[in-house]
Symmetry: C2
Subunit: 221 residues, 2 copies
């Protein structure tokens, strides 16, 4: 039983730090989105598309979580008003961002100048669902090639999301993906969820999603 | 520091149980493959293709690891000589199979009748790399839509693999994937690795991979 108790301690400590992060964000009227998905679902591509749409409307920073490498931080550097890279490889939790890492990242950002922080979590459909970061919104991206059964296999992360983006819609002719079955699974476990369909290649749904996000940020700040 | 010590204990205990699993498998001349990938890379589809190729040549069981659901076990049931489903949702480790779960599964299989056990791990590129299961081979599947940068971002799992399968080759015309860059990344961190290119839709590379696996099983048993 020893391990379970310790895990409980960690999760409680994480909740407390996450609450602190949220207070800090609220003081500065900064809205934070925790973006989660499997590896390669298009988190970074979607972040780039959102920033292009919101340019001139919001000041946006990105916190990039990754096991190793700065590949994604380099990609978003030009578009973002600020970027922080977190590499989790040698940290006690490597499979997800935890609130303490985001706390450090927030302290290095010019919060007084920002409206929005996009937090790109580690590519993983399991661990990130366990760790609150202090975010205002949890966004899950699921891409067509992964298959429509993902909500059934990773229910925790889908059940707890404010919004789900079905990405890589351009691949619909080439993969077996039942959009109706996917939507029914997600809505069954998460009745209030908002679902978007996007492609970062054809720009399908990008404007609609970005406008919705802008509304949420304005309502939240 | 408390947590790190406990994690160390867990990993040591896991190694010890994994050694026991391997002994049990060796006693029965059963070869075990630990199949790892991100969610939706095609583990189950590849398992189905391998079993079709090896039908009549090897007796094969499948151990299906998943957070929740029996979706995959149902798919492989008809082709496999035996199937065991492990759901990790309410276990202390939910993001990967651990040796103790495989120990339980092996005890419910007719090992004396089997040649090969295919262990489908939880869809995750982080946690499964930490837990030995007693397998003879670690196989990582990476699919084209995930992008060629995955080895850079999840180096542990690629560095430690005996073989890597690049799956969903049929999508090459529709996604941005640099095969050369992918191969160079993997071979740079894992010089002895064998890399295959497959499609479970067009059957590209399936026969080649299955023949190679058959050789490995015969050499190992």
């Amino acid at each position: 039983m020893k391990k379970i108790e310790v895990v409980q301690d960690i999760l409680e400590a994480n909740e407390s730090i996450a609450r602190g992060n949220k207070q800090l964000l609220d003081q500065h009227k900064v809205f934070a989105v925790n973006i989660m998905s499997a590896p390669g679902s298009g988190k970074t591509s979607l972040i780039l598309k959102i920033m292009a749409q919101l340019k001139g409307k919001l000041k946006t920073a990105v916190i990039e979580g990754d096991i190793a490498s700065t590949v994604d931080a380099e990609k978003v550097q030009e578009q973002a008003d600020a970027v922080v890279q977190i590499n989790t490889r040698h940290m006690p939790e490597s499979c997800a961002l935890i609130a303490a890492m985001v706390d450090q990242a927030l302290k290095s950002l010019p919060l007084e100048e920002l409206d929005l922080v996009l937090i790109e979590n580690v590519g993983n459909l399991v661990c990130p669902s366990e760790f609150a970061l202090g975010e205002h919104m949890r966004l899950v991206i699921s891409s067509l090639p992964e298959g429509h059964d993902k909500p059934l296999k990773y229910p925790m992360i889908f059940a707890d999301a404010h919004a789900v983006v079905v990405n890589k819609m351009d691949l619909l002719p080439y993969v077996d993906f039942d959009l109706g079955a996917f939507r029914r699974s997600v809505e069954g476990m998460n009745p209030g969820v908002t679902i978007f369909q996007t492609s970062c290649k054809t720009d399908e749904g990008i404007e609609e999603f970005s406008s919705w996000l802008l509304q949420q940020v304005k309502a939240g700040n």
